[in-house]
């Protein structure tokens, strides 16, 4: 190791990947590394990604150990991060983390801690691991609180999660709102060759709280619109879509649903641009209501100038405001009706898309997000 890094970005996420989180990491880490002339990026590997890379001043190290149990893996990751950070102890000035597993080692690594809370494991874990005991989640909640309290700054993408982190003890004056964003899609993107004639689009992962099942049920109610297809651009692999495919078969819409999996980010933009409508059918689950998020699918649909139909949740209101059509969550009939109305009035839909795009261009591109993050770094350094 030649000289110590001054900045480190730690994430318990695979990077790069097709997920929204990877887009987020790319922009946030770029801001950090531009500021400090490089740094150390500690992320998860696997999937054929190299364990070590050096890109100019940026050193990328990936955690590759195979640890089947999730908590064991988190523990091994923390220890691994602690080892990676140790050589930089004397030079490290700022550590940017996204989860408690990275925050733990970063807290004792020297340098100030910026905790970017996009989600809270104590809320999100039970969705994937339903057997987790409440006492276990309480321990994880304690850990989150500890990390949030000791961070020099906490960055949150929405007001909903801001409330969640302050309820865990983060000092309100140290919590900063940095909404996600999207870069405006350049006009004239060619239509994807596989695209059906007229289509609705869903972009994102397929966890139950995303509400793709609600969308499929709503789509089944639009059977009379025979020229209309549904495109699901899934950020996860085909095997995860199996239950939803079975649902589509049962609803009798499987012929009209096109599945695309783990498309590169720039191809998704083309799919979004040529869609009639983009749908974000998030459910009214604690994950969305208490924890919140800043759904990148909504930001990117807005940036593509495609009208958005989304669930009426506080987080969506924050992002979409009046630049999209809100419908009650978990109601296929309501969703189908809203879609039908917008398809009947294409001029109104286009207008909605245009205004949404303008809204993003005026204040919510990644450039704006990076500027807001830079202001947080300024404050952290000033103290």
């Amino acid at each position: 190791m030649s000289e110590g890094h001054r900045a480190a970005y730690v994430a318990f996420d695979r990077f790069p990947s097709a997920k929204g989180s990877a887009v987020h990491i790319r922009h946030m880490a770029a801001e950090l590394f531009d500021r400090y002339g490089g740094g150390l990026l500690c992320v998860l590997g696997g999937g054929g990604l190299p364990a070590y890379q050096r890109e100019g001043g940026v050193e990328i190290v990936r955690f590759g150990a195979v640890v089947p149990n999730l908590l064991d893996r988190a523990e091994a990751f923390s220890a691994w991060v602690a080892d990676r950070l140790a050589p930089h102890r004397d030079t490290l000035r700022l550590c940017h983390v996204r989860d408690p597993w990275g925050a733990l080692p970063a807290l004792s690594a020297g340098g100030r801690l910026v905790y970017e809370a996009n989600g809270l494991p104590s809320i999100e874990l039970p969705y994937a691991w339903p057997l987790a005991a409440p006492s276990t989640l309480a321990k994880i909640r304690d850990l989150e609180g500890e990390c949030l309290r000791r961070a020099a700054a906490v960055v949150v993408p929405s007001q909903v999660i801001e409330a969640a982190v302050t309820s865990r003890g983060a000092a309100p004056e140290r919590v900063h709102l940095v909404p996600n964003g999207a870069d405006p899609v350049r006009p004239g993107l060619p239509r994807p060759p596989a695209a059906p004639g007229r289509y609705l689009i869903y972009v994102g992962a397929l966890q139950p709280w995303q509400g793709v099942d609600v969308l499929l049920r709503a789509f089944a109610r639009l059977a009379d619109l025979t020229d209309l297809s549904l495109v699901v651009c899934s950020s996860v692999s085909p095997s995860r879509a199996r239950p939803l495919r079975r649902l589509a078969e049962r609803l009798g819409v499987e012929d009209r649903v096109t599945w695309q999996h783990t498309l590169p980010h720039d191809e998704v933009a083309a799919w979004l641009t040529h869609a009639e409508l983009s749908v974000a059918p998030l459910t009214a689950s604690p994950r969305n209501l208490d924890q919140g998020c800043s759904p990148i699918k909504v930001w990117e649909s807005m940036a593509a100038g495609t009208a958005v139909v989304a669930s009426d949740l506080p987080v969506i209101r924050e992002v979409l405001g009046e630049h999209g059509r809100l419908v009650p969550p978990d109601r296929p009939a309501e969703l189908a009706r809203a879609i039908r109305v917008l398809l009947e009035y294409p001029e109104a839909a286009r207008d909605l898309g245009r205004r949404a795009r303008q809204h993003v261009e005026e204040g919510f591109t990644w450039k704006h997000a990076r500027a807001r993050l830079a202001a947080v770094y300024d404050r952290v350094e000033g103290h």
């Binding site: 318990f12 997920k19 149990n69 999730l70 064991d72 807290l107 999100e124 995860r240």
Partner: protein, 112 residues
């Protein structure tokens, strides 16, 4: 006989117990001839003054440093030790909500 009050032992700690010949000028505890460290201090007081000439002083220093490190509420070691097998079992690969969940990494915990 006054026994030497210095803590000794590697795994099972106890008092030295040999006949004391002096007292530590700093803390006043009784010291045997083997445990008189630099400047007539007991090993622990010597370690607190960064004097490691006596082998027992170095051990006392390491013990002290270890206690200091692990006394913080959440060190790595301390925190994860709080999660026992009962806490961990629900996170075994077969226990996920979706059996396919691991195929592209359960890393999608916090998906923006």
């Amino acid at each position: 006989m006054t026994p030497c009050a210095v803590t000794t032992g590697f795994f099972t700690l106890g008092k030295c117990g040999q006949m004391a010949v002096a007292g530590c000028p700093a803390c006043g505890r009784a010291l045997c001839a083997d445990h008189v460290a630099d400047g007539g201090l007991c090993p622990e007081c010597a370690a607190a003054r960064n004097q490691f000439g006596h082998p027992a002083a170095a051990a006392a220093y390491r013990r002290r440093a270890h206690r200091h490190r692990t006394a913080q509420e959440y060190t790595d070691v301390g925190w994860y030790a709080g999660l026992d097998t009962y806490d961990r079992a629900p996170f075994d690969p077969g226990a996920g909500a979706d059996q396919d969940y691991l195929d592209d990494g359960a890393d999608a915990l916090v998906d923006s």
